[in-house]
Amino acid sequence: MKKPFFCAALCAMLLIGAAPAALSADGSASSKEILDHVDDLFRGESSYGTFSMRVVTEHYSREMKMEGWSRGKDYSLIRILAPKKEKGTATLKAGKDIWNYLPKIRRVIKVPSSMMGGSWMGSHFTNDDLVKESRMADDYDHEVTFRGDREGVRVIDLTLMPKPLAAVVWGKVVVTVMEKDFMPVGVDYFDEDMIMTRTMAYSDPKRLGGRTLPVRMRIAPTDKPGEYTEILYHEIEFDLDLSEDIFTLRNLQK
């Protein structure tokens, strides 16, 4: 697991799983329950959503509108709606594989393993982020390390240390949630040398798809100040009846 929430976050549609577990908000929830809640927040049996992605780097900034579908944990499809130049460009995830459809040349290209570490659509997410996902509570030992006021808000910090045999790249992950409803606030990722390398920030909680979700999330690499990728959900629906045919190479090219 590289960036657990990206999958969760970038696309509810990319992901899996059961509806979020109902949590007792009386403060008695264990750290596992909180992590599962965060993991499941964006997940559903299936989903459809539209969102925009804004990428700001030292060298370029770009904004795209996209729509996406997901079914189970293995299938998802994202298609660019705007800008015009890239309209129709689409990504299909099936299991561990990713295909891109390029409308200009009308070809489907499977992303080779050597390029899985490369940027997805010029963002701060890699192709690997799309396919590698897992549940935080399974891969990390976790405990509550802070509970109290921060900038006037009652929050809880959970510190996650990778389990000895877990196939994860982070040396440490710190997840911050609101104390009252366990709404995610931010996640800080540390490398093996315990140096913070990237941060994820969640904001703008809204009622979407029958759930209350932070609809804006921003990922920022720590070593490149000023750079970030921000995703803003416009609409999202969970547990739709989606046909398997959506997630085929054939449909990718439509």
């Binding site: 780097t57 370029y60 770009r62 890239e86 040349i105 290209i109 080779p112 490369g118 010029g122």
Partner: protein, 404 residues
């Protein structure tokens, strides 16, 4: 008088003279030819490095070589190119970028080089190293010349259509279909594996990166000292880094320097070996004549006269021997200067620290290759004669007469 006697003496036993002459001239010829070969070899190695793709001088953004970032481009490339043109230094601007090439189900990463084909041809020999197909044409046609191993891993041949996908400079997914124009011969490991040479304008469209250049390569092909060429464009280079191939590839440059040193050492050893050969022949020839010298001395010749005659003989013999040998060596060297020595029969493909070296080694005849061995062999033959001459001159006639 001495000269005439010496000359006559030489002809008295013409077989002995011929053998000595042959030894001196053969050694000299071998020395001249092998010096020309060694110098030619080092020159070929250096040229292989600079002419194949590296050039003699390169200009980059100061961070480019360490970061290899798409965005570290040469500042004001036009000014550098103009400065080079003003000094008639051939120059080519290159734009680089990484991307994915695929053909059917096969795909591989490649390093794209966006170049103006004619300018690139002037500074590098890539165009002359085509295994099959053609070089890029003068106009952008979405054609690509591939490194050999890259073509192999894509299963691509001339005419194959390749899907090309790159991370463009504006963050978008640059993509297009390119046709394979040509495939290069082995030109060095990294280029073989990754080079995808395309037209500059095609590059600019593919990478959405108009007017950006990562490297300017200058190559006078030996007409100008790289340091001078670098100095010539330095005022126009601004903040860019200007670097000669010697500083760019210091290990390689040091290798060449040490090769030149070893050429000198080998040269000295060859000289010594040939000198000893000549020494031996002269020595034997002179010792053989000790009884004769005894006789001359018995009828009243002074030691000094004997010494003078013998050394005059050696001077004459050595002179003709080494000059004739030098001439023969020059002929051999010129033959291979015109028609380079082809090493294909020994090695299929020469690769020197990842850079392909031509199999054809032309000899390089420098004046030092000729006069060095000629003078040295001449001196060796005279010296070789002196010692027995001194001995003969100092001997008592009776002993000399009975000397065997």
């Amino acid at each position: 008088m001495t000269l005439r006697i010496a000359w006559r003496n030489l002809w008295r036993n013409w077989k002995r003279t011929a053998i000595t002459f042959a030894a001196v001239s053969f050694s000299t010829a071998v020395l001249v030819a092998s010096y020309a070969l060694m110098i030619g070899w080092t020159q070929v190695m250096e040229k292989s490095v600079t002419d194949l793709s590296v050039g003699e001088v390169q200009v980059h953004h100061p961070d480019y070589r360490s970061e290899r970032s798409l965005y570290d481009t040469v500042e004001n490339p036009e000014m550098v190119l103009e400065a080079a043109a003003a000094r008639r230094i051939p120059a080519s601007a290159r734009s680089f970028g990484f991307g994915l090439l695929s053909s059917g189900s096969k795909s591989a990463g490649g390093q794209f080089w966006g170049v103006l084909p004619e300018a690139e041809r002037a500074v590098s020999d890539l165009a002359a190293n085509l295994l099959e197909g053609d070089y890029l044409g003068p106009s952008p046609q979405r054609r690509v010349v591939l490194g050999r191993k890259l073509a192999r891993s894509l299963g691509a041949a001339v005419g194959t259509e390749l899907v090309v996908v790159v991370q463009a400079a504006d963050g978008s997914l640059g993509n297009d279909i390119y046709t394979v124009a040509g495939i290069l011969k082995g030109v060095g490991e990294s280029l073989d594996r990754s080079l995808a040479l395309i037209h500059r304008q095609d590059y600019e469209e593919l990478f959405v990166f108009p007017g950006k250049v990562h490297e300017i390569v200058l190559n006078t092909r030996g007409a100008m000292d790289p340091e001078l060429a670098a100095a010539a464009i330095l005022p126009a280079a601004g903040t860019n880094e200007v670097i000669t191939w010697r500083r760019l590839l210091p290990t390689l440059a040091q290798m060449f320097d040490s090769m030149i040193a070893s050429v000198l050492i080998f040269g000295a050893i060859f000289l010594l070996a040939a000198g000893v050969g000549v020494l031996n022949t002269m020595l034997m020839a002179t010792f053989e004549r000790i009884p004769e010298f005894g006789l001359v001395k018995a009828i009243g010749a002074s030691p000094w006269r004997i010494l003078r005659e013998i050394s005059t003989e050696a001077v004459i013999l050595g002179f003709f021997g080494s000059v004739a040998g030098g001439a023969a060596g020059v002929l051999i060297a010129l033959r291979f200067e015109r028609h380079p020595l082809d090493l294909t029969m020994f090695v299929e493909e020469l690769n020197f620290m990842g850079i392909a070296v031509t199999n054809e080694v032309p000899f390089a005849l420098t004046p030092a290759c000729v006069w060095g061995p000629v003078l040295a062999m001449w001196a060796a033959s005279v010296l070789a004669a002196l010692w027995p001459a001194v001995r003969a001159a100092r001997m008592k006639p009776v002993e000399a007469l009975t000397h065997v």
